[in-house]
Symmetry: C2
Subunit: 338 residues, 2 copies
Amino acid sequence: MALGWSCALLPAFAADPLLERARLHFDPLPDHPPDRPANPVTPEKVRLGKTLFFDPRISRSQAVSCHTCHNLSLWGVDRQETSIGHAWQRGPRNAPTVLNAVFNLAQFWDGRARDLAEQAGVPIQSPLEMAASKAYVVQVLSSMPGYLRLFREAFPGEADPVTFRNATLAIEAFEATLLTPGAPFDRFLQGDPDALTPEQRKGLALFMDKGCAACHMSLNVGGNGYYQFGVADAPPAGVCPSTDPGREAVVETITCEFVFKAPSLRNVAMTPPYFHSGKVWDLHTAVAIMGSAQLGLRLAPGEVTLVTRFLESLTGRPPVVTLPELPPATDRTPPPAP
Amino acid sequence: MALGWSCALLPAFAADPLLERARLHFDPLPDHPPDRPANPVTPEKVRLGKTLFFDPRISRSQAVSCHTCHNLSLWGVDRQETSIGHAWQRGPRNAPTVLNAVFNLAQFWDGRARDLAEQAGVPIQSPLEMAASKAYVVQVLSSMPGYLRLFREAFPGEADPVTFRNATLAIEAFEATLLTPGAPFDRFLQGDPDALTPEQRKGLALFMDKGCAACHMSLNVGGNGYYQFGVADAPPAGVCPSTDPGREAVVETITCEFVFKAPSLRNVAMTPPYFHSGKVWDLHTAVAIMGSAQLGLRLAPGEVTLVTRFLESLTGRPPVVTLPELPPATDRTPPPAP
């Protein structure tokens, strides 16, 4: 009987050619952070990193935190074309989500940060964003015994654990836990043929047939390569502004403009607006632009809809996050600067 | 034996005259919201209210939420002299904490809002804060099926539950749950004579002897009356700016300037800066100013320290808050306005 059941299931399973094909391109998202020997994810480091992530006091105004632009109630983004930072200044690019970002090959639209720790240090010091300095952050954190305790626990054995570098390593460890497993597409990849609707299956087939999966593949359905935006056809006016050269500004050997990291499409239906410019609010429109700009295809409206339905199957379960209680300030903690 | 035990305890208990005296002035904080027949606190209303509290999309920029200034990781305040709102404008007064605010006799420094629901509607519409309008909020919320569901559950039986008024009632219900019971002073009032340190006991005695408890009394150790700031002596320059008349602007029959609600002192050690101007960062300094301005007393430095130690015993357990997942926007949801 057991054998009979097994035989009855396996052929049906093996007989789904769409699933077999999808497995060549994609992997399901794990529900735990990857092993990263350079910065192991320990509960103590995650606790410190979460506290730092929510703490506006490490910004110059003491009013902007990582969470301001990477709002975990809003799928790790801020629903702004480009983010609002210190003194209501606008950044130059749309804020990418922190969710699943640990699986990207590098961070920022132009990949200029090797990992999440390097990334975390940049907005804190950017005059447009948190407008602080390394010295200021260390001064603020060192003024609070509560932080000293958290750093000691997160970096045991270090004589002087309250450093800017350790702060960013802790933020990286926290962010590495911000995963969204359990999307319908993940359940499909794990062998449940009914996890996708008939429309989503057609959309997935189109996604592979038309060439989308050439850049948006693997674990994060993207986030693992750099490509010129507009390689086949120029995107609509404003969507790829001429003022932003992209990765050319980071890597000298790139000789064409407008090269950007292909973003992860996980939870993409939840994170408008789209593209590095944040100029497109509607996912259908974004899909149609990708078809023409990247693939030289004028996708039929029905095809755009089917691909969009497939992209909706990439929405997973967001992490449950309890607000940290931030360590109390002391009379050595500097007041906010104007 | 049971009788003997009881007799042994009671005399010790009754023999703490400080406790007996304190009980004439103060009540311990409950761990559950008060019964409010006009707006019963139901789990469904709390759920909706919490979602609204964290949602920046009901502001004009879609970047400012209730939580921006009433940060629940920072004891319900923002650690700013006066809050930063829409387009980085500064409000005129220091943001009071939402924690335990349900027990205040009215809301705002000048008491111009009768309750938390009335209060919640004001910053949403203030051009300095969230800069939205009632119609805009209803438009935003009505665009999301997820909100429609939350409103229907919170206000069952209503034909058209998505209203601005219901949004503020739900926020009130959520805020009514934001209590901080279990402070050392509460445990003292509940009969544990060891809950206060010897210094805190002396500070409590001074607090009553000197007259502080005349205005800061009852459940919230304040928050239940209006008094002129500087009735005995002018506060230091800038602490009570001449540009802010206080409650005079709200109630015509008040004929003296600078009348404000005496704030609750619960968790006061965690919520600098102090006074409606937010000009004082150090709690010792605030206590000394209160002594001279309100009581006409030049408190000795040792007395100031003892009263401060007592105020530190008013720090309770902050509520544990899990971030809500905000309902997804749709193509009918307006994008942020500049």
